[in-house]
């Protein structure tokens, strides 16, 4: 255990990248997810079709493939660079891949949330003369958001764990799981304490998130 603790700075560094990936991807996927949801419930059939096609195809593709496509395909093969330094370049590609993937799940949860809103709410809004945008902004989204806080928390937890896939060849972001694998391979510390240390690190990130979102969703639940 001492050998592991003496390397604690490497562990902390790995998790700092995990947290950065999580927070940025969460932000972008949330924005993109709201956009996709608005498209999926819009009155324009073409918008609905496009958003549904996007969500259904990315959702059913493995994340490993999505990130490999960003890393090996767009970054290496097509040579699209987002930053001067390699470390930041792959980092931003990882953020893009994770956001594109997670946005589908955000959109799915939001849509499930919209389906929980009683018809009467929207009928009342329409009879007051609210337009589709007003309806969505003032009536539907606020209620749907409160209904989906629990599921969105699950999405965030899944995202935190999914950032480990960003260590895939072709991207190789120096996040926690890659740091753990390197520490295994370099033999700087015994394997079991290293694994337990990283596992506890992930539990520290995921368990409180779960409890917080569970508490929050109960607190703001719409009483019907």
């Amino acid at each position: 255990m001492e050998a592991f603790l003496s390397n604690i700075d490497r562990v902390v560094d790995g998790f700092s990248w995990t947290v950065r990936l999580t927070l940025l991807s969460a932000l972008f996927s949330f924005v993109l997810g709201i956009l996709l949801t608005a498209m999926r419930v819009s009155p324009v059939p073409l918008l609905r079709g496009l958003a549904t096609a996007y969500v259904e195809s990315i959702r059913n593709t493995p994340l490993t493939l999505v990130l490999l496509f960003c890393g090996l395909g767009l970054n290496s093969a097509l040579g699209v660079h987002l930053s001067g330094t390699v470390a930041l370049d792959v980092f931003w590609w990882a953020v893009i891949g994770l956001s594109a993937y997670t946005a589908c799940f955000v959109s799915e949860s939001l849509r499930a949330g919209i389906n929980t809103i009683p018809l009467g709410q929207v009928e009342a809004a329409r009879s007051l003369g609210l337009t589709f945008t007003q309806n969505l902004r003032l009536i539907v989204i606020p209620q749907a958001l409160r209904a989906v806080i629990g599921p969105l928390g699950s999405v965030l937890i899944a995202l935190t764990k999914n950032t480990t896939v960003a260590s895939v060849a072709g991207l190789g972001v120096q996040e926690a799981s890659r740091e753990m694998k390197l520490m295994f391979d370099q033999g700087v510390a015994p394997v079991l304490p290293t694994f337990l240390g990283f596992a506890i690190g992930f539990l520290i990130l995921t368990l409180p998130t779960g409890y917080f979102f569970g508490w929050l969703s109960k607190r703001v639940a719409v009483v019907r």
Binding site: V41, P43, V44, P45, L46, L47, R48, L50, E56, S57, N60, T61, P62, L63, T64, L65, L68, F69, L72, G73, A77, L78, G79, V80, F105, E108, A112, N115, L119, V122, R126, L136, V140, G150, P151, G153, S154, V155, I157, A158, K161, N162, V165, S167, V168, S177, F184, P190, V191, L192, F195, A199, F202, L203, T206, L207, G210, F213, G214, S217
Partner: protein, 363 residues
């Protein structure tokens, strides 16, 4: 879809129809621009000195771009499929099927363990489930791969005594993670069985385990079947993580192919299409099961409603549907969203209510 339409907007009038046409045109224009950027990007347009967009040569297929026939031609050769894709697909399916069976067993054991009468079984099962659900699958796979080193470090078992193959590591990881999620699914399913069922079982003198195995589990599994299938889709998708530990599954065979033929992007697209086809058909199965359940559950749980006030029967199904989904929504399950998936057939159900009516009358 039809249910949603009525939630958010009325049947469009003349002005709304005109506006929708405008929006459609705008979307179409943006979509075509997006396609054009994608086409030019894959055509290596942005890397060169970018000739004018109105030059026909710009739009011709660039031999060094991704659209050139050379890069797609490998997929027309039978050797590509027999030497690369099919062996990879077989490995993917082997890993996924083995892990599915094991995960269901693991899920049953620990799901029931969490409802045990003895507190230490409850606590132990709970800890196991929460641990494996809370950590990333990938570090679990890495750890399983490193087990020979652990054996050496802890018990001085010389290296090389036993090996952990990539397949074993992937299957172990998939089993532990998805098994833990399934344990929660089974538990939620058992808790959602109406209380009268186990009360009746106790009343006729069944033991606790008889009650569990003969009464609760069969009903819970039927009710949770869509969620279980949805989790198996997750499992199949996650088997692609085997790529990272060099397990020769489908994604790896595609990257090998891409390295040999220099066609990363076409290979990625074809690979994605195969995964999407498999997963979508599995999801169809989940939706079909959900439909079948919702029509079956009605006759078994609501025998009183046979008088056939169809409106009342419909609301009661809606309630039963929410009961089945609710426990999974509240839980901070990492993949609850997959289990919310079946909620979407839920709205199909609402749309189907019309033709569900007669079925009710019949029952």
């Amino acid at each position: 879809m039809s249910a949603q339409k009525s939630v958010l907007f009325d049947a469009p009038g003349p002005r709304a129809r005109a506006r929708n046409v405008v929006y459609t045109v705008i979307t179409l224009v943006l979509f075509v621009i997006g396609l054009a950027v994608l086409y030019l990007g894959f055509n290596d347009y942005f890397r060169g000195q970018r000739p004018s967009l109105f030059d026909p040569a710009t739009w011709a297929v660039n031999p060094s771009g991704e659209w050139t026939a050379d890069k797609w031609e490998p997929f027309l050769r039978p050797g590509t499929w027999t030497d690369y894709v099919l062996p990879g697909l077989r490995n993917t399916l082997t890993a996924a099927l083995t892990a599915s069976v094991l995960a269901i067993v693991f899920g049953l054991v620990f799901g029931i363990g969490r409802m045990s009468e003895r507190w230490w079984i409850r606590v132990a099962s709970g800890a196991v489930v929460e641990f494996f659900r809370g950590i990333p699958l990938l570090i679990l796979i890495f750890f399983t791969m490193a087990l020979p080193i652990v054996a050496y470090q802890l018990f001085a078992i010389p290296p090389g005594t036993f090996q952990v193959t990539a397949l074993a590591a992937v299957v172990t990881g998939l089993t532990l993670y998805n098994g833990s999620v399934l344990a929660e699914v089974f538990r939620a399913g058992v808790l959602a069985v109406p209380k009268g069922q186990s009360e009746a079982a106790q009343a006729i003198g069944m033991t606790r385990s008889q009650n569990m195995w003969l009464i609760l589990i069969p009903q819970a599994i039927t009710a949770m079947m869509p969620a279980i299938v949805a989790q198996l889709v997750v499992l199949l998708k996650d088997s692609a993580l085997g790529y990272i530990v060099a397990f020769p599954e489908m994604l790896r065979s595609f990257t090998l192919l891409a390295t040999r033929e220099g066609n990363v992007i076409p290979a990625a697209i074809i690979c994605a299409l195969i995964y999407i086809a498999i997963n979508l058909s599995l999801s169809r199965v989940a939706i079909w099961l959900e439909r079948r359940n919702s029509s079956r559950g009605r006759t078994s749980t609501k025998p009183v409603d046979t008088e056939g006030v169809s409106a009342r029967a419909d609301t009661s199904t809606g309630a039963a549907g929410t009961v089945a989904v609710e426990p999974t929504v509240q839980e901070p399950l990492p993949d609850t969203l997959r289990e919310d998936g079946p909620a979407e057939p839920g709205d199909d159900d609402a749309g189907d209510d019309g033709d569900d009516g007669p079925r009710d009358g019949r029952g």
